[in-house]
């Protein structure tokens, strides 16, 4: 069933991406990027590497982190439940099958799209700094998130209030999605909400790049907000997780500004990098 779900996601994203590239980015930038992609790739290579490493660690940690977490983690389910109680049941009053379907698809497809599109969009910008900042922010989100996941053991509301949430629990209405989420997460990883933090990060960047992509900004904000709401609506996260997600997003956006361009790789490894690029002829093919 995982394959099925993955196909679905790939299909939806496969349709959404080209369309939005055309709508939001425009032909002109595409053409320019075509000319400059190697240069940009070279400048961006370190940060791409960092992100890949973080994602790889995340991947490995999926197997081992739960065990480590069991050793040193703090159980906080009860605390969250005591603090906010049945707050997320507020959504019960607006619950409809249509809304459930909307939030479910936003949670799975909207979120994936929201993460992937900016990567492409900002790569298209001739100013590579924003691209590097975005990737740094992503990497920070994942890294900090992972540490928090290890330190804090908490189950989401759906695991505490099954009866009240049945009608709109993602995995009750669409059990197949659980195959997808269990690939990337375990059910004790709810604090903070990475869905929220990454969406908010994207929305923050969208606001910074309003001038470049004016049409993308409102879409990103609406979609980002929907993702954050969906995590609560679907009973996956506590309000506290979402709040923490927002804080995490803000932290990562600020940090990305401080960190990017702080060290230049060429300063550090200037010579070696030169030699490296010499050995990689495809980088110079057109020169």
């Amino acid at each position: 069933m995982l394959a099925e779900v993955l196909t679905q996601v790939a299909l939806v994203i496969g349709i959404l991406l080209p369309v939005s590239v055309l709508v939001f980015i425009g032909r002109e930038r595409l053409v320019r990027t075509r000319a400059e992609w190697r240069d940009r790739l070279r400048t961006n290579a370190p940060v791409i590497a960092v992100l890949l490493v973080v994602l790889l660690i995340n991947r490995v940690a999926r197997q081992t982190a739960p065990k480590l977490s069991r050793e040193i983690g703090i159980h906080l389910t009860a605390t969250f439940y005591n603090v906010e109680g049945e707050f997320i049941l507020l959504f019960k009053s607006v619950e409809t099958p249509e809304l459930t379907a909307y939030f479910a698809s936003v949670y799975v497809f909207g979120y994936t799209f929201l993460l992937i599109f900016p990567v492409i969009a900002y790569f298209m910008l001739s100013d590579t700094r924003i691209f590097r900042r975005l990737l740094t922010a992503y990497a920070l989100n994942y890294a900090i998130g992972l540490v928090l996941y290890i330190l804090i053991i908490a189950y989401g509301p759906r695991n505490v209030m099954p009866a009240e949430l049945t009608e709109r629990m993602l995995y009750d209405t669409n059990p197949q999605y659980q195959y997808l989420t269990r690939e990337v997460n375990t059910n004790t990883n709810v604090f903070p909400s990475l869905h929220t933090s990454l969406s908010a990060t994207v929305a923050a960047f969208a606001s910074m790049t309003r001038s470049a992509y004016p049409k993308w900004f409102p879409i990103a904000v609406v979609l980002g907000a929907s993702v954050a709401l969906s995590t609560m609506y679907l009973g996956i996260h506590w309000g506290i997780d979402v709040a923490a997600g927002l804080v995490l997003a803000a932290t990562c956006v600020v940090l990305s500004d401080k960190l990017v361009d702080r060290w230049s790789l060429s300063d550090l490894f200037g010579d070696r990098l030169e030699r490296l690029s010499d050995r990689l002829p495809w980088l110079h093919r057109e020169e």
Binding site: I57, A61, T64, A65, L68, R70, E71, I72, V147
Partner: protein, 607 residues
């Protein structure tokens, strides 16, 4: 628990995990964590630790010796022991009020009737503070027996009590060790008429013939600091309260004599229902049937014209107040807060009806023996105690945590009672002077209960038993009021001026367990511990044979033949001989009880 107290080595290993855990790169190291955790994280991988609460030798020389012997034997079987030394009132506060103890060594006041076991063991008292059930023992089977023995008399009662004692010997919420002999010395030149059996009660100080003030030496200074009849911590025995207060009946050498009550008439009335009985816990059908058949009522007439020491008349309403007040010292203003003493006695009383100033009818929840005991509580002046509560209530917020609020913890000096002696003066830690209460009914012509000493009593504190003996033989004292420590008994000089007063008393040394929490909540564990106590040797070496070892908390006729002392404890004999513990056998007793040892011979199971 991730952070249980643990042995150093696993603490190190986990700490290193922590250090590693901070870095995401260390995640790969966590593969082995799972199996390691299994090993080091199990409950009970620490050595068992117990504390023994005991008295310093100054206060009671025997007590600490028993504790130290037990400590040595517990250490020998691999249990880590901490001795917790407390002054007498501190010990009682720790055990009775705070209930923060594992084991304690103490002297139980017991009572003339085995009904005191009801107070000591009934499970509805397990959550209360005071002399009632300090062990936290809760066993429904015992409850039933204890309730039943109150409702029957004669052979039937003896049989129920026999079952209680048998059960007690198996379950061991506490372990009685011995009944110490009561030794006192008195001078015969000043006073005559010493009665060795009653010097623990008011009767010992009545009917003495002699001139001048009776000068008694006491080892326990608590009497100079607190004379509150409700205090659980100020005393084990009631002597002083007996002198200052009257009760309806008074016990003299095991017999009850009418005291404040001039006449007591017992009658049985069939009761309509068993309802209204809401303090007694379970009410299953069988119980209700048995209980519902008959009620004892007592018609009491008080002696004429009795007054409290402040001149106020003592009437039936004071009696009624006393029972109500002891049942709830907040008198309904706060959550119920029963007094930390007399709990079982008061619970025996179902209702008190005042007929007129002198006559009242008390309805009891059972038969005569336990009912009579209920009539031995001190009668308190309503006007004094009511005012105390009203004052507290007037100051706004009123709370009365059981055993912890001023009515119960106050020193209550000077006391207002109605007893044969009246408080005159005191110097803290030095002396307490009582004068004769001239209006007391014992001084009346037609009353033959022994008159108080005309010139009054002076209690001087002399902490050392040997010193007290010396002072009495020197003539600077008439009596050692407290029981002499065993070591001093051999030093009593042979003199014609001195008489040695010896009695066997019902109060007993015991080891109490806090059975609320593991591992002492496990009767197997308690039994294994009691097998480490060599009562015979303790009696021999600590008490110099001035005590009687026992397997039961009651003596004489009440002891079933199977529980009689036969040179060793009939249920949990000492493992070892001549005071030497057979460590292997003792350890295997713990193992049979389900406990385990580590390679270093330490008993595991610390949480």
């Amino acid at each position: 628990m991730n952070w249980s107290p643990s042995s150093p080595d696993d603490g190190v290993s986990r700490r290193s995990f922590l250090a590693a855990g901070a870095a995401a790169g260390a995640v790969t190291a966590s593969g082995c964590i799972d199996s390691v955790r299994n090993v080091v994280e199990q409950a009970g991988d620490n050595q068992m630790t117990l504390s023994i609460t005991t008295l310093p030798a100054d206060a009671d020389r025997q007590n600490v010796q028993i504790a130290r012997r037990l400590e040595a034997n517990l250490e020998a079987v691999g249990i880590d022991v901490a001795l917790d030394m407390r002054s007498p009132s501190e010990l009682l506060k720790t055990v009775l009020i705070d209930q923060e103890f594992d084991l304690y060594v103490g002297r139980h006041p017991a009572d003339y009737d085995p009904d005191f076991l009801y107070d000591a063991l009934h499970s509805t008292f397990a959550n209360e503070r005071g002399w009632q059930n300090p062990f936290g023992f809760a066993n429904m089977y015992f409850d039933t027996l204890l309730e039943e023995q109150r409702r029957v008399d004669g052979e039937q009662r003896k049989q129920r009590l026999g079952s209680v004692l048998h059960g007690l010997a198996q379950e061991k919420p506490f372990e009685p060790i011995c009944f110490p002999d009561e030794h006192r010395i008195a001078r015969t030149d000043g006073f005559e008429g010493w009665d060795e059996g009653t010097l623990g009660s008011r009767h010992g100080y009545l009917g003495l013939e002699g001139d001048g003030q009776l000068h008694a030496l006491a080892t326990d200074s608590r009497m100079t600091r607190n004379l509150n009849p409700l205090s659980a911590t100020a005393r084990e025995r009631e002597t002083m309260i007996d002198l200052l207060y009257d009760s309806l009946l008074s016990e003299r050498n095991g017999e009850l004599v009418p005291w404040l009550a001039e006449s007591v008439e017992w009658s049985a009335t069939p009761s309509e229902t068993a309802s209204g009985d809401d303090t007694n816990g379970e009410k299953d059908d069988a119980n209700a049937d048995e209980r519902g058949d008959e009620r004892r009522t007592v018609s009491i007439t008080l002696r004429e014209d009795c007054r409290f020491h402040d001149g106020e008349p003592l009437t039936a309403s004071d009696v009624a107040f006393t029972y109500r007040f002891l049942e709830d010292t907040s008198l309904g203003r706060a959550p119920e807060s029963p007094a930390p003493r007399y709990r079982g006695q008061v619970e025996m009383v179902e209702s008190v009806e005042i007929e007129d100033d002198r006559r009242l009818t008390i309805t009891l929840r059972g038969e005569t023996p336990a009912g009579q005991r209920a009539l031995t509580v001190p009668i308190l002046p309503k006007h004094v105690w009511q005012e105390l509560i009203d004052q507290r209530a007037a100051s706004g917020e009123f709370s009365a945590p059981q055993g912890r609020w001023v009515a119960v913890t106050g020193d209550h000096i000077p006391p207002v009672g109605s007893g044969p002696y009246r408080y005159e003066s005191h110097t803290e830690d030095e002396q307490l002077v009582l004068e004769r209460y001239d209006d007391h009914f014992t001084l009346r012509e037609d009353v033959d209960l022994g008159e108080p000493v005309a010139a009054g009593l002076r209690f001087t504190i002399e902490p050392g038993s040997a010193a007290a003996v010396r002072r009495v033989s020197d003539g600077s004292g008439d009596l050692t009021a407290s029981i002499l420590d065993a070591y001093a008994i051999g030093g009593i000089p042979d003199s014609s001026d001195i008489t040695e007063l010896t009695a066997t008393h019902r109060s007993f040394y015991h080891i109490g367990f806090n059975v609320r929490n593991a591992p002492l909540s496990n009767p197997h564990f308690r039994r294994a511990i009691t097998q480490l106590i060599d009562k015979e040797t303790i009696v021999d070496e600590v008490f110099y044979d001035y005590a009687t070892p026992t397997a039961t908390p009651v003596a004489d006729d009440w002891v079933p033949s199977s529980l009689e002392w036969s040179g060793e404890d009939p249920v949990t004999p000492f493992v070892g001989s001549n005071g030497r513990l057979n460590v292997e056998a003792a350890k295997s007793a713990f193992e049979t009880a389900g406990f385990r040892y580590d390679d270093n011979g330490r008993l595991l199971g610390g949480y």
